[in-house]
Symmetry: C2
DNA sequence: ACATTTTTTGACGTTTCGTCATATTATCGC
DNA sequence: GCGATAATATGACGAAACGTCAAAAAATGT
């Protein structure tokens, strides 16, 4: 016996329909051309009904963002489960993030859009709280790998006070790199070679700096990238190859 | 004898008036409440005249962004001139960037806004080209310090192929960190301590990873932060203290 | 079968962008 | 100085999009 009435189930189903429709429109035409009228027309409900589900256009987009963060949480959890060293598992998170970003560039733009204050301003308190709690979930996964590294000696105990700093360091480096990659800035014109490779190299250098064992200088890091991505993200890699 | 006619000078003067007015309005009320009508009203010209100077609202905001990048170039050039080791000079850039960000948080939000594709879409080709050329100027400054480090032996010659990667690494780390700091994400709730400190620490670890001499492990890096910021950015520091 | 509550609808008011015909001002030859 | 012509400024206007709300439709209960 379901805990939700038929009505509530219908409601959820329609919410899902609206969300996936909005996602499609957003991916196809971008934020500017995503209009509530168009969403309403496409799902064949009136605008008023859409507004019964989402307080504003920004709220709708933020909801998409929450779905997206849930996808990322899946990726992060898979990386967490990887049967390797703590360093490999932490790296797996970065790889997963990079791959997800390449596979769903529009999702990353979407996040960027919602992080922007002009948009954020119009999102309801509830949605913001929902997103924050999802982000906390992600932080928790990454932090616990760092903690395990300290506990098992892969990372020196002296870094116990730096757990947050390490997590933040990797987060900001990845976030910044992939945002730059996504933001139409012609990085090649500025002289940069493909971003994911540089990011992988830099992330390794950074973790080497914290002396997180085993060091990338003692490892074939190109091979490790291959190994991790095929072990965890085979599906994603296939999709990527098809896209090219 | 001026190379510009009186008319052209008037034009430039008014453009400056529009820009500084728009900047004020933007800082006071945010992107959503910056309207072309309000700008026109405030500068006491008609909207049509504003549109003679800027092709769209986005173009206007992008122009503000260009002014802002010019400010950053000033900061970067001051750091470039710092009479210290290459490592110190490179660090000085990061410090200057952090300080500028703290002193002008709205400017950073502004950049973030313009980097967003939904906004970027509506900026004229010319303005985008202008911004790109300014960004190239910044890249050039940072890259040349890295190159000097290699030339003088502070950075091993084996990194000659990684100059871009190093520049990109620092850029993305700083960009990501300061964006996260600015984007209303409650970092404290997520467990993070103040951002600039973590960023300084992470940037040092990262550069240590590249074995850029002198290593931060052989230096009192807190003292170095003090030293550089008071030598180069005394004015900014004063303003910051006053703001608190 | 009818009354009442819930949900849906889309026309409407509002805001803001960007345009363009018209008005105003400046320039220039005489 | 003056009239003709070119350059510039103006703000009323049309269009697009958001979000609302009174009225219509559907669902529920008696």
């Amino acid at each position: 016996m379901p805990t939700l009435s038929r009505k509530q189930r219908d409601m959820l189903e329609r919410e899902e329909l609206i969300l996936s429709t909005a996602q499609t429109l957003l991916n196809q035409h971008g934020y500017n051309h995503l209009t509530m009228d168009r969403v309403a027309e496409t799902v064949e409900y009136s605008k008023g009904t859409i507004y019964n589900h989402f307080a504003s256009k920004e709220d709708l987009v933020c909801s998409l963002c929450c779905r997206l963060i849930n996808n990322l949480i899946d990726v992060f959890e898979r990386a967490y489960q990887y049967p390797g060293t703590t360093r490999e598992r932490y790296s797996a998170i970065g790889i997963g993030y990079s791959l997800y970003n390449q596979l769903h560039p529009m999702d990353t733009q979407n996040i960027q859009t919602v992080k922007n204050n002009a948009v954020r301003e119009k999102v309801s308190e509830d949605k913001l709280a929902e997103m924050e709690s999802l982000e906390q979930k992600i932080t928790k996964i990454t932090r616990s790998i760092v903690q395990e590294a300290i506990d098992c000696g892969d990372l020196n105990k002296e870094h116990q006070d730096n757990v947050d700093t390490i997590v933040f360091g990797c987060w900001s480096m990845h976030y910044g790199a992939l945002l730059l990659d996504q933001s139409d800035i012609p990085l090649q014109n500025l002289g940069f070679s493909p971003v994911v490779n540089m990011l992988w190299k830099n992330a390794n250098i950074y973790l080497d700096g914290y002396q997180w064992l085993p060091l990338s200088t003692n490892t074939d890091s190109d091979k490790l990238f291959e190994k991790i991505s095929s072990a965890l993200f085979d599906g994603e890699i296939d999709l990527l190859k098809k896209a090219v």
